[in-house]
Amino acid sequence: MRSGRRQVTDEELVRAGRRGETEAFAEIVLRYKDRIYNLAYRMFGSREEAEDIAQETFLHIFRSLESFRVEERFSPWIYRIATNLCLDRLRKMKHTVASLDAPVGPDGDIPQQVADWSHAPEKIYELSEMRADTQEAINGLPPKYKVVVVLRHLQDLSYDEIARVLGIPQGTVKTRLFRAREILRRKLGKLYPVATGVEGSAAR
């Protein structure tokens, strides 16, 4: 699929995929699988859910190749599909564990999502302690905050790109991102205080 001079664009691959060229679709999968997998992993904190969501995302893409508007860019489209699948599933999970969703944290503003962790306890041992604490803190965010943090910091999207993926105004992206980071700062700041004379110690 790679020409010597320039890389084939995603949009060109989509067009080839529409014509039934399986290799073109396989190339799209190759380009995006890690990104989509990591996006889903950060949304759930579970490898199992991440695999499943990533598979579903590509199946969805494949089924709707026809409806992709050629003048649109491909990456916001695939991110939109993946984030919608994640948010839908999180909503469903929330219904099933509503009674365990008691808010935690000093201000009671850090909702706990017990289901996220019970699905894959093994991951705690896969990551270093700090990474695990960070993932736990991200897990604890409400889904609409979590998704902006993941898109901004783990997928490196700009405010404008995030707004387009989620179909919300840029101002809303900013509000949610700032609020989310404030929650994370308070939570992680307690566990890992900054070295420059911040009072309090790691309480764990």
């Binding site: 399986t22 679709f25 396989a26 999968v29 190759l30 699988k33 890690d34 997998y37 990591n38 992993y41 950060r42 490898r47 991440a50 695999e51 990533a54 598979q55 590509f58 199946l59 494949f62 089924r63 990551l127 700090m130 990474r131 960070t134 993932q135 991200i138 943090v149 901004r152 910091h153 783990l154 700009s158 405010y159 900013k174 991102l177 700032f178 980071r181 994370l184 700062r185 992680l188 700041g189 890992y192 900054v194 420059t196 911040v198």
Partner: protein, 78 residues
């Protein structure tokens, strides 16, 4: 300029999503304000920590399994 007003610019500043003028405004404020300077350090540490969460890779047979499911769908559709 009050700290609370600066705060949102401080956040956008860390994302390099500010104009040159806003950048100057933030820098001027933090030079004179210990409180906001500390917030900036803490926030940037939080962001670093999020970004260090690391990248994982899906199972090795990810693409193979997916392509098999697609082939199956194609066959079912006829």
């Amino acid at each position: 300029m009050k700290c609370e007003e600066v705060y949102q610019w401080l956040q956008a500043y860390l994302d390099t999503e500010v104009t040159a003028e806003e950048e100057r405004m933030v820098e001027k404020h933090i030079r004179g304000c210990v409180h906001c300077r500390r917030r900036l350090v803490e926030l940037s540490q939080t962001i670093n920590q999020i970004q260090k969460a690391g990248q994982l890779t899906p199972r090795q047979d990810f693409t193979k399994r997916l392509m098999e499911r697609l082939e199956q769908e194609k066959r079912e559709r006829g």
